[in-house]
């Protein structure tokens, strides 16, 4: 327990430092100005603002962006843990049940003008993406369910099939689109980006991710038992079917909201849980909180890279996560005696 607390404490300190550093890097805003802006907002009235531009950049652009990157990184990582445990398969990730493909299809349909804007312009896209994701996982769940039981094999196969189906919708609407400008925007969105994050977009991801984290920590023991299989878990007194349903609903909700807010950022939910397992083993009491912190840190720095690698330009953060994450992951896999479950 002490080592866990120490590791969590260490990671939290690192996280805090990273947030401070991430707020300071980017275009030409002096370091002093960055912390002046922060101080101004954290202690209202203590310091007057000097530079309006610095305020916009640090508090309106970088801060929500950093926070969303933390939430999405952490959220996708714990859902990755949940999915890998649910289907007892190391290939599982948050997108395996077709949520991201569904969300992408919804976003593409909306972007290219096949769906009307329901709410304001900025909120309609996340809504379309969320509905797409929800639709997709509902179909998958209905196919996998027989009576009160959920078949894992059917869940996986239906998820893969539904992903392909939704991807075909996305491919078709992008192909049929008469508007090349918007097409580029869709591609950018599909690869994931935090570039258009603002404060209004934060509360929902914060709530679902927070609930997800608490639930997953609370479920640590039943999840450990489920790794051994349905029968052993059942004999240990774990309500297996109820836990499965809870995990699916949780995954749908968290992944749906996160993908809707920042696009389908890949590899985080697959890689981070495995990387954390190589260090602390498979028990969920450690795996869940550490995956959350590690995923948050990873995506925070990936997002920093996506906005500072090319001066003045944005890269899709999904490209960075794959570029940096995958080689690191392969080395980790090769070097450690890694076993799953």
């Amino acid at each position: 327990m002490r080592t866990l607390l120490l590791t969590v404490g260490g990671l939290l300190a690192l996280l805090l430092f990273s947030v401070g550093a991430a707020l300071a890097v980017g275009s030409e805003v002096a370091l002093g100005e960055v912390y002046r802006v922060l101080w101004h907002h954290l202690t209202p009235g203590a310091l007057p603002l000097l530079d309006e531009t610095a305020d916009r950049i640090v508090w309106q652009l970088r801060m929500p962006r950093v926070l969303l990157a933390l939430l999405v990184g952490g959220g996708l990582s714990i859902i990755g843990v949940a999915m890998q445990t649910l289907v007892r398969n190391p290939l599982a990730e948050p997108y395996i049940l077709g949520i991201s493909s569904g969300a992408s299809a919804g976003a593409a349909l909306f972007y290219l003008g096949f769906l009307p804007p329901l709410l304001s312009q900025t909120l309609s896209l996340p809504l379309a993406a969320f509905i797409g994701g929800l639709l997709s996982i509902t179909v998958v769940y209905l196919v996998a369910r027989t009576g009160s039981r959920v078949s894992v094999a059917r869940l996986l196969l239906a998820g893969v099939a539904m992903s392909s189906f939704m991807a075909a919708i996305t491919a078709f609407v992008t192909y049929a689109s008469p508007n090349p400008q918007k097409l580029q925007a869709v591609l950018f969105w599909l690869l994931g980006s935090f570039s258009s994050t603002h404060w209004d977009l934060l509360p929902l991801p914060a709530i679902v991710t927070g609930v997800g984290l608490l639930l997953m920590i609370g479920l640590a023991r039943p999840l450990d038992a489920m790794l051994m299989g349905d029968e052993p878990a059942h004999s240990l007194g774990v309500p297996v079917e109820a836990t499965k349903r809870l995990l699916i609903v949780l995954a749908a909700l968290v992944t749906g909201i996160l993908v809707a807010s920042s696009g389908a950022i890949g590899f985080v939910g697959l890689i981070v849980p495995h990387a954390v397992r190589t260090v602390v083993g498979v028990t969920h009491r450690r795996l869940v909180p550490l995956s959350f912190l590690a995923g948050a840190l990873f995506l925070l720095w990936a997002d920093v890279a996506s906005r500072v690698l090319l001066p003045g330009e944005e890269l899709p953060v999904g490209v960075i996560t794959a570029f940096c994450g995958v080689p690191f992951f392969l080395v980790l896999l090769r070097r450690s005696e890694y076993g799953f479950g």
Binding site: Y95, Q121, M166, A167, L183, W189, L191, S195, S196
Partner: protein, 325 residues
């Protein structure tokens, strides 16, 4: 995640370049040399890809496989020789009555049926490998590249020469060049040159990088381009960049009926950007600024009028000359 790969990559390359417009191009060299082996009246022409093509003595049936070439053929006075255009063609209105064929992918069968004497292609958006297919079909094809306004006017002359309307084309190009010179004279009188940001999309901030023709257009319109130093073909700008660069005017190719308030809705932090604060956001018809045709001049004029309203009294400038059949 992975389905992006399942979309044919070539399609994307084409689609991207369709509005990415002009990159690099070789210098065109056309010559009318008698070639005794291929018949006394056959001409040999070298295009911008360096291919040498033999043309019949007079070209009567022309097909264009890029919309900007259609417009140039009309300006060169040879619109009546067009027998087919792509489904993307929408200007001038006379193209509506012509047969249309698919361009992505190129519908070779439909083109062959039209029996053209000459096919005109844009080296920047059409696939150079299509030349082999046209060669196999025994259809002569010429690729042209466009990167500056001057080069576009030069192509008007070249195409007039090829299609037998040389004097009409030369007159059109002369008057276009005179119009540019006149515009340059007017905008040179401007006392200040506002820092100008051109955005291709309002949400994802696609802009023009250092090698683009757009900076020359903005310069001609009497502004300073804000993205001329970014070393990329078509960068996606960071919102911070716009905040720190502080452009005084923002132009967009979002269409003529665009509501400028939407830009602020997508980028709420920009309320302190001078262009947004002063209400100097102007959206243009994309065809006037993204398509390498003589209509770019009209796009530049519209930008100049927005940048320097004082230099342009209320009278509208006449539109760029088009063909009178």
């Amino acid at each position: 995640m992975f389905f992006v790969l399942s979309i044919p990559p070539l399609y994307h390359t084409l689609k991207r370049t369709l509005f990415l417009t002009f990159l690099f191009g070789a210098v065109v060299a056309t010559g009318c040399t008698g070639n005794p082996e291929a018949g006394a009246f056959t001409r040999s022409v070298t295009d911008d890809l360096g291919r040498t093509v033999l043309l019949p003595p007079s070209v009567e049936r022309v097909v264009t496989i890029a919309p900007n070439l259609t417009e140039i053929v009309f300006v060169a006075g040879a619109g009546h020789k067009l027998v087919g255009v792509t489904t993307a063609d929408d200007y001038p209105p006379a193209v509506d009555s012509l047969p249309h064929f698919g361009a992505l992918p190129l519908d070779f069968e439909a083109i062959a049926v039209l029996k053209p004497d000459l096919v005109l292609a844009n080296a920047n958006i059409n696939n150079p490998r299509d030349a082999e297919t046209f060669d196999a079909l025994d259809l002569p094809i010429l690729f042209f590249s466009f990167q500056t306004l001057d080069e576009i006017f030069q192509r008007v002359r070249t195409i007039g020469d090829l299609l037998g309307t040389a004097s009409h084309a030369a007159a059109a190009a002369d008057s276009l060049e005179a119009a540019v010179a006149a515009l340059r004279q007017t905008t040179d009188r401007a006392e200040e040159r506002p820092l100008t940001l051109f955005l291709i999309d309002d949400e994802t901030l696609f802009a023009f990088g250092s090698e683009s023709y757009m900076h020359a257009l903005i310069d001609l319109a009497g502004g300073r381009s804000a993205t001329a130093e970014i070393e990329a073909v078509r960068p996606i700008l960071n919102e911070e960049y716009v905040l720190t660069r502080k452009p005084e005017v923002i132009f967009g190719s979002f269409g003529e009926d665009y509501d400028p308030a939407r830009l602020l809705e997508h980028h709420p932090t920009w309320d302190i950007v001078p262009a947004v604060r002063d209400g100097r956001i102007y959206s243009l018809n994309p065809d006037l600024v993204l398509r390498p045709t003589p209509r770019l001049l009209e796009g530049v004029r519209q930008m100049a009028r927005r940048l320097h309203p004082a230099l342009f009294p209320t009278t509208e400038t006449p539109p760029a000359p088009t063909e009178t059949p």
